[in-house]
Amino acid sequence: MKKFVNDPKQFVPDMLEGLALANPGTLTYDPASNLIMRVDAPVPGKVSILQGSGSGHEPAHVMAVGPGMLDGACPGDVFAAPPMDYVLAATRRLATEAGLVYIVNNYTGDRMAFEMAQELAEAEGIKVRTVIVDDDVAVDNSTFTVGRRGVAGNFFVIKAMGAAAERGADIDEVVRVGEHVNSVTRSMGMALTSCTPPAKGTPIFELGETEAEMGVGIHGEPGRERVQVRSASEIVDDLLDAIVSDLPFAAGDRVALMVNGLGGTPISELYLLYGLAHKNLVGRGIEIARNYVGEYCTSLDMAGASLTLVRLDEEIDELFGAPAAVPIRVF
């Protein structure tokens, strides 16, 4: 295994400690429940927003904590939903009288941990609501009973809910905004390589020198099909065909387009993909009003990328444009 790591079991706490040390003025870290939170949270009167998820998707979600975004994130170990206790402890710490909303990617483990915590928190009189994110078109919603996965589109749900909460929306409104954004967000990813969890030490799956996995999950779960490596244009076309036809997106739509790197793909390639996706969508008569190129939701060191489209309306566009700040910054 080629990784920067000391004790693989301590990978997540060590990473979180570094994150906290790098952001002393803006983040607070509670090692007992892997909790990274805004230094000023809970903000009195504001609906708080908490995300859990497994680790290994950084910057999602511990690096999406900040004003106009999450109030806190309490990740589990790499690719494992947080233990229920972490969620409950974070809930107690972050809840305000306005309430607390969980943003949960649609995976069995995450849903169960957050459901259990919600039950217990509500029993303590805390007002809790949950928004489920399930933007991944790679997994057919009807065939598989667990439903679609939540992937990089999560960022947009956080952004809109964070903006709404920041400007004082009540808990129903924050939940409505989140569900609305999720309902118009679609993603699909593909992998050129597998990824290696620090504790496992070997790749999660094997891809041959000329193979790629279309529709890969963000935990290294196999995707729709294994294909031969193809040109960047063909990859972009395949991903967009699946995404556009799913909602469906149509000529005249204004969209946000995200090109998300999965961790091992350099930004140069992401911009190359952006150019191709941009031209593909313009060719369909779809207008790209906002774009996002970089790493938003990764799978450790996986080489690969996902595309996400959000259909914009005036409300969403305005929320996406609202000010926000996170630890990920250049300066």
Binding site: K9, G54, D77, A80, P83, G109, M112, T145, A199, P222
Partner: protein, 226 residues
């Protein structure tokens, strides 16, 4: 009241099986899942072992409730809630049961309660390629053995055999729950890691309890098992 040696031995067997198979369980999970099953399980059960001496031993039910709390606080992923719930429901069942009997029927009732908890929690059913595909046949076998009034050791042997058969049979199933379900038909041909864990654990329990007569026993009938 206090814990029984038999229940402690079972929990020890489960914990040690989880820890000694950490990499193997990760490998199994990597085939169609995300490769963390062994890691998640081991993180919880290693706390069980680390705090073994300090665990609440007021009763079997209190003991199992404490195990459930440790799993819930330390184990992430799907396994945390699933296994935490299983131990919690087993505790409830034993608390209700006539603690003086402790025969195969009490064990079967506890296992059945765990299964119901797992199903409530995870919405899976038999045939979905989860640990239920080992647990349910195991509970069936244990119940049959209780009905036949078999001694505990033989009952546990039957249970382990049924769990193993159930685990092996997951190879032919298409996953309908959990992360493996995303691969659809491609999940066919691989073993479900949760079911394999159950098989290994029940086998280890059968081995270690071979000299016990009752799960309420304070000690084995003959020598200490090796």
């Amino acid at each position: 009241m206090s814990t029984s040696k038999a229940v402690e031995t079972m929990v020890l067997a489960i914990s040690e099986t989880a820890i000694s198979n950490e990499s193997y369980f990760c490998e199994l999970d990597a085939v169609a899942g995300d490769g963390d099953f062994g890691f998640s399980l081991a993180r919880g059960f290693e706390v069980v072992l680390d705090t073994w001496e300090q665990l609440d031993r007021d009763s079997n039910a209190a003991f199992l409730r404490r195990i459930a709390t440790i799993i819930t606080s330390r184990t992430g992923g799907t396994s945390g809630p699933i296994w935490g719930t299983a131990f919690l429901r087993a505790a409830g069942s034993l608390a209700d049961a006539d603690a003086t009997s402790g025969g195969p029927s009490d064990a079967a009732a506890a296992l059945r309660a765990s299964i119901k908890g797992i199903m409530d929690r995870g919405k899976a059913t038999v045939g979905d390629k989860t640990l239920l595909d080992a647990l349910v046949p195991a509970a069936d076998a244990l119940e049959r053995a209780a009905a036949e009034n078999l001694p505990l050791s033989l009952a546990l042997e039957r249970t382990a055999q049924a769990a193993r058969a159930g685990a092996e049979a997951t190879r032919d199933l298409e996953a309908k729950r959990g992360r493996a379900s995303y691969t659809g038909a491609r999940s066919v041909g691989s073993l479900d890691p949760g079911a394999v864990a159950v098989a290994l654990m029940t086998e280890e329990i059968a081995r270690r309890l071979v000299d016990f007569e009752s799960i309420a026993s304070a000690s084995p009938t003959s020598e200490e098992p090796t």
